[in-house]
Subunit: 409 residues, 2 copies
Amino acid sequence: MPVSPKAPTPPTTDPHDAQVVIAGGGIGGAGAALVLGLRGIRVTLLEKAQEYKEVGAGLQFGPNITRMMQKIGIWDRIEPLVVYPNRVEFHNAVSGDLIGRLDLVDMRQHYGSPYVVVHRNDLLQTLVQAAQELPTVTLLTAHGVTGFEDIGDGVQVRTATGETFRGQVLLGADGAHSVVRQALVGDDVQNTGYVAYRGAIAWDDMPEKRVARDAVVCWAGPGLHLMQYPLRGGTLFNQVAVFRSPSFETGNPDWGNPEELDAAFGPMCEIVRNCIPGLARIKRWVMADRKPLDGWTRGRVAMLGDAAHATLQYLAQGAGQSLLDGACLARLLGGLGAAPWTSDDVARVWRQYEAERLATASRVQTWSRTWGEMWHVSSYADTLLRDEAFRAHDPYDYSLMDWMYKPQD
Amino acid sequence: MPVSPKAPTPPTTDPHDAQVVIAGGGIGGAGAALVLGLRGIRVTLLEKAQEYKEVGAGLQFGPNITRMMQKIGIWDRIEPLVVYPNRVEFHNAVSGDLIGRLDLVDMRQHYGSPYVVVHRNDLLQTLVQAAQELPTVTLLTAHGVTGFEDIGDGVQVRTATGETFRGQVLLGADGAHSVVRQALVGDDVQNTGYVAYRGAIAWDDMPEKRVARDAVVCWAGPGLHLMQYPLRGGTLFNQVAVFRSPSFETGNPDWGNPEELDAAFGPMCEIVRNCIPGLARIKRWVMADRKPLDGWTRGRVAMLGDAAHATLQYLAQGAGQSLLDGACLARLLGGLGAAPWTSDDVARVWRQYEAERLATASRVQTWSRTWGEMWHVSSYADTLLRDEAFRAHDPYDYSLMDWMYKPQD
């Protein structure tokens, strides 16, 4: 008998006594809450912000992510939000030359699922709303996780409100600067010295209209790139400008400031230069990642998403990989049944989770770095090689992406 | 009436009163002496060594060089010395994979003149012998040029023997460490921190036979390469191993020593490793070049070959470009006639010489650096791009080389 979304929360979903406590209500955490809840698992999600809000503008989902969404039944909710770009275009940002294409219409046929782009906040709101409709899921804002204790048959999770939440397991989905990872691993993020400026503005307000509006467009230059794609049915246009700050190495506390943005993109071709004023200059993002780990779990605690495998954005897989983590955990934990999970149960799930997810997510981390290095080559020789290699690539050849996009099962 | 090679030198060829004094009897200087002498110009060549001897093993001539040799009538003497490789092969030195080819049989059809390789000393001996047969050419060994003075209507050239040689002009063909350039320009060579070991050994003695014997083979690895090709009808096998010395930057006076050679090539594929013992370890060459100049002449003095435009060897154009210089100068000076050359005559010839030769030779200098950087890429990203770009290159597409190989007139 399906539970009505309007039904009052039954006593078994006391948020202080959940099966799964999730630290962090970003895309990874909210997505995990949703897919766990869809399997009837009692979830309490603890988010430190006052409201659910994704900063940044757009994100991309490759065929591996949309396939999973179709498979677990959340695609119908996501699909109305997305735009289907026709292709990826790579340009040399200095000359403006088109140096490579990837056909996304053909790619959809090839992999059986589409490549889409979506507004980050549209996606998050949809995930949160869908999770909130589920009777076994409680989402709490203004409840930042400050610490936790593994108590053998469960985890006690403390929040900044002074409360304690009990879960049979804790999932650390608290992002690149994860409290959970700090406790489990204690490593530092790897700052690359690159910084990003973003902005999604009305297409009508775009200062430069000579840009493909039906594509994901990447302008690759020395130590920088500009990424562009449409959002919300093409009414919005999303831009991300990324560059290596010349003053990062010198320890300038204001490294990556807007003056450096202008200086970096000043020598680019006219079209690229004209696009830069479309970026929001009040906020900037540091491009950092984490070293791949041998494992993401300990005792009753597991990490997912950026907390487990923070990656540079160059393969556009960060958000999608976090949703894959959640889908995997939901399937495995859902298979354990309703009785209290033993430590052996949990250990078996964690082993399987790592077996399924760790190799791919780690490869995303290392390949994202490599892929970014290819975009950002600086020397004349390297740029010639990059342009020649990109030009030579068949727009219908996805073999380099098979490890990532192909069905895994 | 043709002058017999055996005829005694007529008084007009007093070596102390020549039309052209050449400093340096390497391939550039000896080649210039030959082509000037073929036009009846009185030449005195001053070489510091006790005998004419080219160190190093092989060299390569592209279609631009063999075309010139055919045109000026020296090809018949060179041709018996050369080997015609069928192709250039590029391999990744780490994996051993063949990543690119250039078809030299087809290239010969395309450009109308062949790509050949030849033993450096075979070539030099032939140039010297051919020059010695000419009645107006005097070649003197053990006569290193120590200084010179432009006296308005000519040049007084001093040698280490204490003699003075008068010429209407002086050609500085005294190589990468040119005395003439030191006086005219005073710049330093640009040391790249790379060092080369060479060796031409009997094919029968090659420690590794799984190498193409009918090709120019280049194994490109991180900060290194190994170049191989046959000489003397394939009886000899020429090898050049080049690597970036890890201790160059640290100021080690013994940088680039044989232990570093072994360490650099140790991680390469088995075939490459097996070839390294075939190199002579008693001598090594520093890979250095010069910055391109705006001009190569002053007053009654001009430079040619390495003195004018020392280049890294990666386009295999160093020797050939020096012969092009000599051929150009012989044509222009030959056009001046027998009467004493006025300063205006000489200035006009120098302007024309620079107009014809400077742009191409400078491009060889800058492109050789770029080409070497492509071979020597180190990072994973750059290596992927290099291999992809080389793989994508059509073995029958020479368009990138047209500026160098195509007839200029």
